[in-house]
Subunit: 250 residues, 2 copies
């Protein structure tokens, strides 16, 4: 790999994951990632390992969920799960239910979805605390091999004014969340303004490009960003959550 | 490069760009990119080539710009330029001016900024039509070498509920804008829901990871995504603009 080059490869060799399994140990067994590399794992796999699957048939929707389900044209049982996972409703419209999750993320259906899961009525909730998940995976990788690669947990989120979804980071251990150039200077000695790069989200997006959605590939490994991998686990993806009162776009 | 692997390298060998120069021809001369590859160019470089630099000292702010400048705590001349480039004001607060540009993008200061430019009072407007810019660059690359790589024009935008900026696509030629999996099925035969990946934005974000903000590197080349490079120029980045009446987050 040349200087300043980036190589991204699919994470292969993981078995189907069941609740209670040590995801970090399984990743370590796959032989990936190496030191100074970053492994980006799909939220879905983490949720499976953490037993965050639910059966819709076992959900009893409340009156609020039934009413919201009608407004959103969504299964009231799914709405109930989303409400249970959320602290605030941001927007409801036909086909649309946006909430702020207990973890602080603003996204559709509280991040709950049903793709790539076995069973007609099975859905996956987000990990309770994906930063904690990432730290756990990293600890297993570290105990397996001494050095610890960076770990990011990623999910696909929609965006207010742009069509389509991109992968963003919802959890992280050992990767610099924001590369802050504010106060530093450009080549002309002029202060760089408002340049704080959300590196975690750019890495999550990059990693998504090597994962076809029907492939079952659970993640990717990014080589060439050792400058962003830290010895300490660091603040995690929580560093990317814009505080409610700084919500500039409402 | 292995199957399903992605390699990203900085675009090197471009001279300092002046107004009126043929950016595509200059890129072709740099030897990059090859067939089936995608070149991601910084908006700033495109704006320079298209003569979109402005001197603040030559701007006469209107009463509206002066009033908005006070509310946004911004230079009223910058505010004037942003107004001239916009069709709607989305949000004003101290330090914040979000508009919808004539091109349809919702972003801070109509995308105008001053980093990496020579001269204390020089700022760069967005290209008038960055899809057209991308098509022009691609045409030059094609006439130079027969086959045409994909071309993306990228800029750094903030996001409503997430801190930091990520690079997104504001122009494109010859790259599939959205990889739409809706209606297709996962490994379990279950229909994939709401999975339409904004590939252009993920590629732009990935490319940004190899460009240090003080390096003057004007772009990057992405290899390994030939499946997303098309013979036709295609719809461009306009395909990512969410129509006003589908703005789900207001």
């Amino acid at each position: 790999l040349g200087a300043d080059e980036l190589l991204i490869r699919p994470l292969r060799g993981l078995p189907e994951i069941a609740a209670g399994e040590d995801l970090g140990a399984l990743i370590a067994r796959s032989g990936d990632p190496g030191e100074g590399e970053i492994v980006v794992i799909s939220q879905k796999v983490v949720s499976k390992a953490e037993g965050r699957l639910r059966h819709l048939t076992e959900v009893e929707p409340t009156a609020q969920a039934i009413e919201l389900g009608q407004r959103a044209a969504k299964d009231p049982r799914l709405v109930q799960l989303a409400l249970d996972e959320s602290v605030a409703i941001v927007r409801v419209a036909p086909g649309v239910l946006i909430t702020r999750t207990r973890g602080g993320w603003v996204c559709a259906n509280a991040g709950i979805d049903s793709s790539n899961l076995e069973g007609e009525d099975v859905v996956a909730l987000l990990p309770e605390d994906a930063d904690r998940s990432a730290r756990g995976i990293r600890a297993s990788l570290r105990s397996d091999r001494g050095a610890a690669p960076g770990v990011i947990v990623a999910d696909s989120f929609g965006r207010p004014w742009r069509l389509g979804q991109t992968d963003v980071a919802i959890g992280c251990a050992g990767v610099v969340p924001i590369d802050d150039w504010r106060g530093r200077h450009d080549r002309h000695g002029r202060e760089l303004e408002a340049t704080a790069i959300a590196t975690l989200d750019e890495i999550a997006a990059a990693a998504d490009l090597v994962r076809a959605k029907d492939s079952g590939i659970p993640g990717a490994v990014v080589a060439g960003l050792a400058r962003l991998v830290t010895e300490e686990d660091g603040p995690g993806a929580v560093a990317l959550r814009r505080p409610d009162d700084e919500d500039l776009f409402r």
